[in-house]
Amino acid sequence: MEPFTNYTGIGVPLRGSNVDTDQIIPAVYLKRVTRSGFEDGLFSAWRSDEHFVLNQAPFDKGSVLVAGPDFGTGSSREHAVWALLDYGFRVVISARFGDIFRGNAGKQGLLAALCEQSDVEQLWKLLETEPGTEVTVDLEQKTVRAKDFQARFEIDEYTRWRLLEGLDDIGLTMRSAAEIDAFEAAREPWKPVTTPLPA
């Protein structure tokens, strides 16, 4: 996982609340066997509508999603986060996130920034009147900026630290490599291994 300090990208206004993970990516896309390529399933029901925001330039190049409250509720599928990342999003801003989604996002390096709904609405107006406006998210300062707009966002300290350090769960555990080595060295010799036995 790449360290996340600050990020600047085109903001995408996604009005509407309660965008659950079935809307982010429907179950039919869960059958695949790869971890990448989920961008085609992102918001797939809406993508067939030519008026949908991601079907319009310059929003189709967007990477900072500004969403309504209760984004990412419902099914625990990790695919929702994969789909957003695969499409190119690095940040989702919302006034409230589904708990599991927020946890999954932190693990995969997608910043879920919690803002006041009034700030979200100001951002929506700005992005809609001046499409293509870039939004800068500073994780060290916990601020969101776009043109003259500036606001603070919230994120739990543990997730913030992990994102700043670029540590996914596995990366974090690998910091304990010496302790894992030591534990392994002390394991009882009779513990089984799966190595095939001589015939």
């Binding site: 790869t34 990448s36 769960d169 555990t173 304990s176 009882e188 513990k191 291994v193």
Partner: protein
């Protein structure tokens, strides 16, 4: 204060103690892998340029998707075939031992671990499958994990986890003739509910548990997840040691002695305290069957389909109404009068040799009802070979049942063995959820002997129902 069995095994696997809100980092002794929940985990490793840390503590098999007949042919279903092919490629690339379809050691992941002797007391065992709790029968902490966690274990052989609470399930007394481990666990789930075990590791204790064979103990631990628990455990004893002793991967010679010495310490201390305790009277148990659509909706076979009107709790009443409608039942019908279309004997719950022996004993010299089909699906190719060596397959075939290859089969609708809409089964598996055995299918969970007796009589039955009126049901 003393420690519980779960606390002892946990503490022995802590690589790094978490401080405050941070989880413990737990070492994993054995990682079982199958085709459904592993593809994205391997792909995640590939994307990050990571390898499998301990391929020698990892083993894979094909089970969920595999057909149980025509296994020499390509799998017809494209998604299933892709998952199986992907597992084969991943195991080859990352150096993981795999038992593919047709291999002598292939079978359901939770059947092959114990039979290879890879499941031993005092271990931590994980798999991307909720029925991993099965391996707790050896006094191991064994639980199901999600795909991200599968990747985490592949990469690091550890998992960050917060400790579970502990619950003692005391099964006191002695089981009566004709009552089995399946009846114990169905009674436990009916008592504590499908959410009763949430956040806990269950420890099954007491005289009735001590008296059980290893395979019966596996049946009980297997269904811990159906009570909402992440894991279930039983303290290892002489029965456990005897079961493990001759298995291929069991310790040998001086290592065996050292292992047994260590395993003998694996019991809850007399002064250990559990967060919760539940008591079950084994003497009062009789064969259990489920009537509804979750494993907690079960009753003794002698009872009737419940009347939702009589259920005081509003949520339970609504659930009962919905279940009875789905199941196509009428309140007040004696459970013994419910006719079934299909009998399924198999799964990681009841697909072991003792299960097949028990069912064959009931079927010997009898035939199944003409209107009904019975699938007998061994949990592994080794179980299948053992059954054939004992001539059990001839009993099943003579009775009119189908004798299949090993796999998860009709336990879940992921392979060709499925119920048709509206079709009713008596099944030795673990989940009677709506659509679990096929869209619209109706499942009654039962023990292997009840399954066999039901196949003969055509209605939910215990073997004692057959002897009572043998002439009517026995065809010579």
């Amino acid at each position: 204060m003393g420690k519980t069995l779960a606390e002892k095994v946990w503490d022995a696997h802590v690589v790094r103690k978490g401080d405050g809100a941070e989880p413990d980092l737990l070492y994993i002794d054995l990682h079982l892998v199958h085709e459904v929940t592993s593809p994205q985990a391997f792909d995640g490793l590939r994307l990050q340029g990571r390898g499998v840390r301990r391929p020698d503590l990892t083993i894979a098999t094909e089970d969920h998707n595999v057909p149980t007949e025509g296994i020499d042919l390509p799998i017809a279903d494209e998604v299933s075939r892709t998952q199986v092919d992907t597992l084969r490629r991943n195991c080859a690339e990352f150096g993981v031992r795999l038992h593919p379809m047709g291999d002598a050691e292939q079978g359901i992941v939770h059947v092959i671990g114990p039979q290879l002797g890879l499941t031993q007391p005092g271990m931590t065992v994980v798999c991307g499958d909720s029925h991993t709790s099965t391996h707790g029968a050896f006094g191991s902490i064994a639980f199901g994990i999600g795909t991200s966690e599968v990747e985490h274990v592949l990469a690091t052989q550890t998992l960050p986890l917060r400790p579970f609470k502990t619950m003692a399930i005391n099964v006191n007394g002695t089981l009566r003739e004709g009552v089995s481990a399946k009846d114990i666990i169905l009674a436990v789930i009916a008592k504590i509910g499908t959410g009763g075990g949430q956040g806990y590791i269950l420890e099954y204790r007491g005289e009735a548990i001590r008296a059980l064979s290893m395979e019966a103990r596996m049946t009980i631990c297997n269904m811990s997840i159906e009570a909402g628990a992440r894991a279930g455990m039983i303290a290892p004893d002489e029965t456990t040691f005897e079961y493990v002793r001759d298995k291929p991967h069991a310790p040998k010679g001086a290592e065996w002695d050292a292992a047994v010495d260590a395993w003998k310490q694996l019991r809850s201390d007399a002064d250990a305290s559990f967060d919760t305790e539940v008591d079950i009277d084994a003497d009062a148990l009789s064969p259990y069957v489920t009537w509804g659509t979750n494993p907690g909706q079960g009753l003794p076979l002698g009872e009737r389909v419940p009347d939702p009107e009589q259920i005081a709790d509003e949520t339970a009443r609504a659930a009962a109404e919905k279940a009875i409608t789905y199941m196509g039942l009428t309140p007040g019908t004696p459970l013994r009068e419910i006719g079934v279309d299909t009998v399924f004997l198999g799964s990681c719950t009841n697909g072991r040799i003792e299960d097949l022996r028990a069912a064959a004993e009931v079927l010997r010299g009898r035939t199944i009802a003409p209107s009904l089909r019975m699938l007998v699906v061994p949990g592994s190719m080794r179980v299948r070979a053992q059954a054939e060596a004992e001539g059990l397959h001839e009993v099943f075939l003579a009775a009119g049942a189908e004798w299949r290859q090993a796999g998860c089969s009709m336990c879940l609708g992921m392979n060709p063995d499925q119920l048709a809409p509206g079709e009713r089964s008596a099944s030795t598996s673990n989940r009677n959820f709506e659509g679990r055995q096929g869209k619209g299918g109706r499942t009654h969970l039962v023990s292997p002997t009840v399954a066999a007796a039901t196949a003969v009589r055509g209605k939910l039955s215990a073997p004692s129902d057959l002897t009572a009126d043998a002439a009517e049901y026995v065809e010579v």
